[in-house]
Symmetry: C2
Subunit: 247 residues, 2 copies
């Protein structure tokens, strides 16, 4: 499995991805699931992937190769004129890669599936965030749905739904994401640290704060341990149920 979240804030975009991949519970590895392309001062594009690792790596490699080949310039994430065109390009690449493998051999189509979160900004246009499906279609984030999750989305969703605020700082958003990731980590063995992150500041048009947070990171440990206490205190703040009134 995988857990990735892409989030739109007033101040920019925040991305976080775990790094665990597994072929069976006894065959786990660490792979980076976040890719970043930039043309400093002109565009910044971040892609995160959940699903079949061969598929997602092939998508990244195809996109990388095209961005280096002079013949393929118009179909390149660094040349496409808008984020919508970048999303179409990435989505088409994803669908093609899946189709190549799905049409040979005996295995089911779904085995090769992957889902992507794509976010970025080009020139004067505002930052945009997309969720790309294995079928090659995609949806875009909006104020109503300001973040996307892929992979093991359920355990970490309630806290995002409740505590997300478009005006929150990158620092607060990172804290919120780490709580969401910690809840997921505790419940699904196939989601694992370290976590890669990228905080992109609107209109900077270059890679922002990026890094990798290990399971042993003192801040992550403080959040993980402190969150249990904080939750219990939050629960204590609510009035208890009255059994007498109910029966």
């Amino acid at each position: 499995m995988t857990y990735c979240v892409g989030m739109m804030l007033e101040g920019g975009l925040v991305f976080m991805s775990d790094t665990r991949t597994n072929g069976g519970f006894d065959n786990i590895s660490t792979f980076r699931k976040m890719s970043i392309w930039e043309a400093p001062g002109e565009r910044m594009i971040t892609l995160m992937a959940a699903g079949n690792l061969a598929t997602t790596q092939a998508v990244k490699s195809v996109l990388d190769e095209r961005s280096k080949s002079p013949d393929d310039r118009q179909s390149c994430v660094l040349r496409a004129p808008s984020m919508f065109q970048v999303a179409r390009l990435v989505a088409d690449t994803l669908r093609d890669v899946i189709a190549q493998h799905a049409n040979v051999g005996q295995r089911a189509d779904s085995t090769f599936n992957a889902t992507l979160i794509l976010g970025g900004q080009i020139g004067d246009s505002p930052p945009r965030l997309f969720l790309i499906y294995p079928e090659g279609n995609f949806i875009e984030a909006s104020p109503d749905t300001p973040f996307f999750q892929i992979g093991e989305t359920k355990y970490g969703r309630p806290i995002l739904v409740r505590a997300y605020d478009p005006n929150m700082s990158f620092e607060a958003a990172m804290k919120l994401l780490l709580v969401s990731f910690d809840s997921t980590l505790k419940a699904n063995l196939t989601v694992g640290a370290p976590f890669d992150f990228h905080c992109y500041r609107t209109d900077s048009l270059r890679i922002g704060a990026t890094g990798r947070i290990e399971a042993t990171d003192p801040y992550f440990q403080a959040v993980s341990q402190g969150w249990g206490d904080a939750l219990r205190e939050a629960l204590d703040m609510l009035p208890d149920f009255s059994l007498r009134a109910a029966t």
Copy 2:
């Protein structure tokens, strides 16, 4: 879908179940998923069901009929000598009902599946709590795994894992369960109010506080609305991430 939780506390057992069943998103109904049998002063047994409604209703009806027929007394939840024997009886009934439907017609076995939570107490033995699988086998709760969830378990799990305390009062446990149900409700349309509950006090050997909590219940609304604020305050209590330290 469905969401049910059975929980062991120092003081007894707490059960809560939603009431939504659906055959497609446009065909929803309200059904009680909690059944209670008692022989006051001798035993109390509570059963909750997730899965195919025809299967779970058939299981309940078979168990009910047996408890009324003089010939079937030894295979009756009101006569079995121990909670383990009750669990075997219920599990065998579940497996038989599923098998009856799975072996005729064209549909897949899994269509008729159901999973059950069974809890109760008989005589001098301590209360016991079981999770019964459609295959007819089951596991028992213990201090390491003191609660079971069935149905849509993921959204409501993190708060249970973090805030469960075996020494909590029934009133606090009900509050915790309502928060867990509220998180699930907000994320999955096929889980819905009202919620049925039963708080069984150890050694009372009779039905405890039971009732139904509607979506419009003022207490539930207070918990649902208050929890968002409480969560945000809990998050505020944790230190923010430092982007400077990370990059």
